[in-house]
């Protein structure tokens, strides 16, 4: 440990300040989704934009270049050096793009996203294209500039925002593997399940009972309610700050599984945040490692654990307690309901077997789009071809349930989609590693001993923050690099 590190300390002071200001933005953002009445929107947007401008200026202070260089000459501990690496990554991201491009992006995406809300409902692809072309143009310019800066491919440069260090070669490798076996697995599973009786749950399910059920399951999952809450929003998310996690869900009186499993999913995100390293909480090195790693936690909770027959056995009495007894709530039937596989148009409604098909499709299209190999107007044809190929569905003319279904493209979030399936693969890899280390893991889960799972995740993932690169973290946690075999084995053993 060094005794005098003035430049490094200047940088940590800046990030403490940013952490505190971002706290206000996170809470105001959560409130906007969970509480805010409609007439507050304009003032809230202006307030959040003011904060974004302010923190962007702090991040792009020209003096920082020199401070960073000085800090790199200082005698730092290993943790400090990891933090400095992440501080530089943050600095590079903030400084990579000229302010004019940042503003152009802001303008293009907010216009496109706003119009998309109605265009989606109206199935208006042509109207969408008018705004979306500019979003694509901005995305390509960002990609070109970031690729120059990082010395990598264009799509890769955008992906780096969410998955630092991930390469298209690596995604191609693991997604290529997936594409080999996924369509036939879907075929086998749906054929088998067609023969298998399952009882549908009989609604309606009162909202207050569902809310209480979600609370019970969050407690089962060790969510710390002294450091977070569950509220309601149109689009569920996990926000707030690590010291005060704000999860949301949405309730339908016709379907309790959506709110329940959505809550289990967000609880995975929430516990990752609640258990980030505390001593450096304000520093970049304490941040969750990446988007795929975050998704690996929500999917560890929702899929690996949440749909595990042993865990379903723990949930079933809670479901019966809060929603009243009925034959469909018997554990075996509940497990069947949670693992029902059905080809469908909509990604967010997909089960864990067909979900990756939606990602393969989007990855191929958005990568070609960013690289300039296709144009925006080519998307529907590419979409239809892929949907036929992967899920045997005809999407011609159905833009609403096709390329207009997600908010990511209108918002210009190219490079994000692969993280969902990378997260599912990491989650399967964590549980495979746990089983190697604890051969009785499944029996313990079934007995209600969940602490081995939580301890493993806390030690290997949550408490590591961003100390290691994703590859190093993955190796340290599971003993090997990202290996899609575990995901395949997981799906085959649960579904085939």
């Amino acid at each position: 440990m060094s005794t005098t590190t003035p430049a490094y300390e200047q940088l940590t002071a800046l990030h403490t300040r940013l952490h505190r200001l971002d706290h206000l933005g996170s809470i105001a953002g959560w409130d906007q989704a969970a509480n805010m009445p409609p007439k507050g929107n304009e003032a809230r947007a202006a307030a959040l934009a003011e904060l974004a401008t302010l923190t962007h200026r702090l991040r792009t202070d020209p003096a920082l270049r020199c401070t960073l260089e000085q800090a790199e000459q200082e005698n730092l501990s290993e943790d400090q050096r990891a933090n400095l690496r992440e501080i530089r990554r943050d600095w590079r991201a903030a400084n990579a793009l000229p302010e004019s491009l940042v503003e152009r992006r802001q303008w293009a995406t907010s216009r496109c996203e706003h119009a998309w809300r109605t265009q989606r409902l109206a199935n208006d692809w042509e109207g969408f294209l008018e705004n979306f072309r500019e979003v694509v143009a901005v995305g390509r310019e960002e990609a070109a500039r970031l690729a120059d800066e990082l010395g990598c491919g264009r799509y890769e440069a955008l992906m780096d925002r969410y998955e630092p260090g991930m390469t298209t070669a690596e995604v191609d490798r693991v997604f290529g593997d997936l594409r080999q076996w996924l369509p036939s697995l879907i075929e086998q599973v749906t054929d088998r399940q067609a023969q298998e009786p399952v009882l549908a749950a009989q609604g309606p399910f009162p909202v207050e009972a569902q809310r209480a059920l979600c609370g019970s399951v969050m407690r089962l999952l060790d969510f710390d309610f002294e450091a977070g809450r569950l509220d309601v929003s149109t689009h569920p998310f996990c926000g707030g700050v690590p010291e005060d996690v704000r999860m949301t869900t949405r309730f339908s009186t016709e379907d309790f599984l959506g709110s329940l499993m959505g809550t289990v999913h967000e609880t995975g995100h929430g516990r990752y945040e609640q258990n980030r390293p505390r001593d450096l909480i304000a520093q970049p090195v304490s941040q969750a490692r990446s988007t795929a790693l975050h998704e690996s936690q929500s999917l560890s909770f929702e899929m690996q654990l949440g749909s595990h027959p042993g865990f379903v056995g723990l949930m079933a009495p809670l479901v019966q307690k809060h929603l009243g007894p009925q034959p469909a709530f018997e554990a075996g039937n509940l497990a069947k309901l949670l693992t029902r596989v059905k080809r469908g148009f909509i990604r967010v409604e997909a089960d864990e077997v067909t979900y990756p098909a939606h990602i393969l499709l989007r990855y191929g299209i958005e990568r070609a789009l960013v690289e300039g190999e296709i144009q925006a107007q080519d998307i529907p044809a590419a979409w239809d071809e892929q949907m036929r190929d992967l899920l045997q569905l005809d999407t011609r003319g159905n833009y609403r349930d096709g390329p207009l279904q997600d908010v990511h493209w209108p918002e210009g979030l190219f490079g994000y989609f692969p993280c969902y399936t990378l997260g599912a693969m990491y989650a399967a890899q964590w549980f495979a590693a746990m089983r190697r280390e604890m051969p009785d893991l499944d029996a313990r889960i079934t007995r209600g001993e969940l602490s081995p799972v939580f301890s493993w995740l806390r030690e290997r993932i949550w408490s590591q923050g961003s100390r290691w690169t994703t590859d190093a973290l993955c190796g340290r946690a599971s003993g090997e690099a990202l290996n899609p075999t575990h995901f395949r084995r997981h799906l085959e053993s649960r579904y085939r």
Copy 2:
């Protein structure tokens, strides 16, 4: 209207920025009281302190002195000139005290307030004194510096923070009048009411029913739910931002009148904020005029209108609808319950007749304390003497229900208390003016026509923001300066 006002525009741009940043602080502050789980507190306090430091730096930028002087030479409209006057007032307040004193105050009050929470419960006056002496010392130094700056008396200088332009001579005039007739009025009213039967309401009253009742009454009072909400907090307040007002209340299943009338009170604050001038919403000239003026709105709602027999006649069916019928909810009995007068120890539980006695007492003590005429340890004796004199109550040894009952002194808010009773006086004056202009006002209220009341308040008070000094606003609204006779007539006609 001038065509080139670059210095003025620099100032309005700064205040637009401050308005947006304050928005985040207001919402985070509301959330802290209404939602935040306990482990979020430290991070929230740090985030709010960071914001306070940031906005204080923006307000004390040394370049502003020159910009203000330049703006005063520019060719401004009347509204712009009023705004510039308020911008200067804001600037003076931010720059009047050295940063060391601001920090000392922060440290002293947060320490004192924090300890007070347990000391109050423990009746620990001596323990309180240890911290409170420093709060008094800081208050005196602030008062001395502000008095030099403003060229006025020391206590007056502190009062100016809440009631700009208010003098101790004026407070002495109107409070002197009050002291003449209040004790004998209390005597008469309590004697008369002792003979008068009244039915107590029979609980319990379920929280959800009370919440729905509060919502109905807020709708009756034209609260705009598209631009605000009602939530729950330990200490009810009206926060948020003018575009999105966040009111809170608290529910007890034993007492529905507390939450109901507390909500009516906060709705008065809320509608003032919701109806501030929109075109200049980010500017100081759009701010509510003063603390007493704000209180005049909450008391116009709670006391002038809320306990008006005609309005009680409108509320009674809503009470019966939400809480179920019972004899005590008959309009005449409800009006009696709302106007019951009883001498008591606690200010916040006092009725409108005895409330001013609590303020007379606090005004006398805190003024003498700030001016150095008494010391902190002299407070209990002075308190007891005044309580005997004004309310015939013995408070010896009972610090908890005596000088330890309010948060104002531990927080160093000297000069605030008079605003409560000044507000009650202004409220009575507004309704006296309304009755002069609309002789059938009471009949209209009884018929459920509340819009004349709201229109009058909107035109004369809400929409005026801070365009005028308080005196000028009062004169324009009611045709005369602050006149305590109206408050006396109001109490005498309702209670004697």
